[in-house]
Amino acid sequence: MTLRELAEKLEGEVLTNTPNLDVEVPCAFSSDLISDILMCTKESTLLLTGLTNPQVIRLSDMIDLVGIVFVRGKRPTEELIEMAEERELVLISTNFTMYRSSGILYQEGLRSCKIQ
């Protein structure tokens, strides 16, 4: 699934000015716990989260994130969107809950990222 396709499935809004949304997303992980995210992402991952503080963007300096989906209508500030654009990180906002968003993407074939 590409970023464009998944944004459509989630009826989401792409918040960043991203030139290329036709990037294939290999896997996804949903969590609101930073340590958990750091422990579980070993490959290029799409993150679904309700967290909208600067540390969520900072995370992408440490681990390989393809994009971040903010669930349940959460929106980061303009400053955060700029931080993401500097890193070429795609931000998407959806009104769906974390459960529903994860369910939709999983059903569409986006696998869970490998842990361990």
Binding site: D32, L33, I34, S35, D36, L38, M39, K42, T49, L51, N53, P54, Q55, V56, R58, D61, M62, I63, D64
Partner: protein, 163 residues
């Protein structure tokens, strides 16, 4: 002071060498970490990652360094009065020293237990406080040494080999 130390058996024979004081790193990066500064915290680890990337370190090792350093940096921001992160880069390993200004850790084995956390509600709202940071540091480092006591400063040594 109490001490907690973990060593990857593969590098058991390098312990004395890496803790020597009269050795000169090729690169030294120093970062000031401020209490409760959740905007800037993590920059030191990001900079360290970029630096070792330039040296051609394997991406999987780079990730280990970044994750361990980031968790330690956030711990100083969230649980201490601030401190300094010093990354000493050698040809085949990095030795990062995190020295804070207290208030210290009362029980090291408790602090190392997955799930144990004294994080405030404010810190938890930002996604921290799972009690997984120190265990995550342990998993990602080859040598980890934690020195602390109640009402003392905390010193954390993280050593990760490149090969």
């Amino acid at each position: 002071m109490a001490e907690y130390i973990k060593v990857n058996p593969m590098y058991q024979d390098r312990i004395e060498e890496v803790f020597q004081t009269n050795i000169n790193p090729e690169i030294v990066l120093e970062f000031e970490i401020h209490e409760n500064d959740f905007v800037n915290s993590g920059k030191g680890s990001a900079e360290l990652k970029v630096t070792i990337k330039r040296l051609g370190v394997d991406p999987a090792i780079m990730r280990k360094v970044a994750v361990a350093a980031y968790e330690a940096e956030i711990n100083i921001t969230a649980h201490s009065r601030g401190g300094v992160m010093t990354s000493n880069i050698f040809p085949d390993y990095v030795h990062i020293v995190f020295q804070d200004r207290g208030p210290g850790i009362e029980d090291l084995s408790k602090a190392m237990t997955p799930g144990f956390s004294t994080a405030t509600d404010l810190v938890r709202e930002m996604g921290f406080g799972a009690g997984l940071g120190l265990p995550n540091i342990e998993r990602n480092s080859d040598i980890m040494k934690l020195d602390s006591a109640k009402n003392e400063s905390t010193k954390l040594d993280v050593i990760i080999f490149f090969h």
